[in-house]
Point group: C3
Chain length 206, copies 3
């Protein structure tokens, strides 16, 4: 179940990466690389950070083909994609929740302490998008927009609390998804966002 959602989610993330590469006029190879990094970069950073070798996708070449294929396909269908806006946002939100839970599971399996488990979930959820933005030379969007990383954080907390209370795994997944999707979609609809910190004082450090 989680695994199907994961496949759909990395496809959606790859497409978002391809569009970002297109905004920077990258060539076919650049599009493929950014698509791959956006989709699988979060899990890669998590595995490298936790010392979880071999890194997950290296044992599942299908993920490589899927993300690169989705990236290249995006070049062909980009001009029709604005019609898919709503579908895309939904799939992206599903991906955020799925990535977060998978990331928590990996860290749990390796017996990391709870705060690290939460950070592993968030890293899996948001670092693909951060790598995409760094490669495209822009300030990471996930740190500035309406609730996104925070949804990942809250989903991780909820999932772990239910797990600690022995809630059935399937029920836990269901509730986590329902909660995460509602939060994310409501955040988009009502433009919920965290307080922004704007600091413009003359630089006195560095």
């Amino acid at each position: 179940m989680l695994s199907y959602i994961f496949m759909i989610a990395i496809t959606a993330e790859a497409m978002s990466g391809a569009l970002a590469a297109g905004r920077r006029n990258m060539d076919l190879f650049g599009v493929a690389l950014i698509a791959f990094l956006t989709a699988l970069g979060g899990g890669t950073v998590r595995d490298m950070l936790l010392g979880n070798f071999p890194v997950t996708w290296t044992q599942h070449p299908i993920y490589i083909y899927l993300t690169i294929g989705a990236g290249l396909l995006t070049m062909l269908i980009a001009r029709f994609m604005h019609r898919l806006n709503r579908v895309f946002l939904l799939v992206d939100a599903m991906g955020l929740v799925a990535f977060t839970i998978i990331g928590c599971d990996v860290a749990l399996r390796l017996d990391y302490p709870t705060p690290v488990v939460i950070m592993a979930g968030i890293t899996t959820g948001i670092f693909g998008g951060i790598l995409r933005d760094i490669m495209c030379n822009r300030t990471p969007q996930v740190l500035r927009h309406e609730l996104y990383a925070s949804v990942s954080f809250l989903v991780a907390i909820l999932y772990l609390v239910m797990r600690a209370y022995g809630v059935n795994e399937n029920l836990n997944l269901l509730v986590s998804f329902a909660f995460g999707l509602s939060m994310r979609l409501a955040a988009i609809k009502y433009q919920w966002s965290l307080p922004v910190f704007s600091y413009a004082e003359d630089q006195w450090e560095d």
Copy 2:
């Protein structure tokens, strides 16, 4: 001893990260992430590079709370912080020396060759600041300003030389700190800097 200085230092680094995030109008989550990365990113890169798993901070959740807490606190007190300018520079310099020595120690324990030990020290000292600047989409400051990375380099050399000559560990720490702090503060006061390489010729490579 080194461990107390380390705690003070990561707090200061987290605050510097939060201010940089504020200059990019990041939200509360972005501030927390940049604060964390600035404070603990150097040690993380060092551990990932040396294959030193589990990464140090994953076994000390207190570091996570401390750096994120310091980052969020900074949002509240930012407008008073220019008054703390001098304290801040001092603590930052202490952190640079502490990070460098701790980084060398980790690589020594893993039996890496001396040049790698030095690089592990420098990496721990400066990579947090580099990650902060990459995430905030600016050219890393530590590679352009008055002596900073160089102080880390010299402290690493001095520490290792004294160690090789069997100098008592506490004396070694004392001398390394005295030397590093004086160098760094003198560099700020007298604006010492390394020669700058400016290359503006038409691009002929790439």
Copy 3:
């Protein structure tokens, strides 16, 4: 043989890194760091990704001296270097091929599946340049210019196919180099490039 070409190649890559640092007015330390990262960053990322510890260059300090030395030397001779343009492009192309093959070999030795072997080759070939560009705050050139990453991809494929067919290792190297160098130099001469994806539609995602 491959090892001599590797030494020449990391020297050339280090010089390209130093020039990029010079365009950002970095100081001596920044030049050394960027030179090192450009030359050895690709292999470092590969080793960290594959869990191949200790990372190769940490066991060969000569690589550290060589790349940092080449970077610093570049500061002195930069204004004469445009005369070396052709030599430089040739050496850079040799490096791209050598890096790619070495990267494939490392992943093969660790028994990774074929697509991962190819990606390890490409990572070794191009990630040094990507790190250089990220550190210098510009969009990675290798993803936008005439055939570069693609040459790495094709060399990896050719090398692995010949290997699978039991072609003698030396012959394989010879053919791979001949093919890779011709492709790369022809791509520069005739400005071959991949289709570019330009996407300028109003942002509807993120």
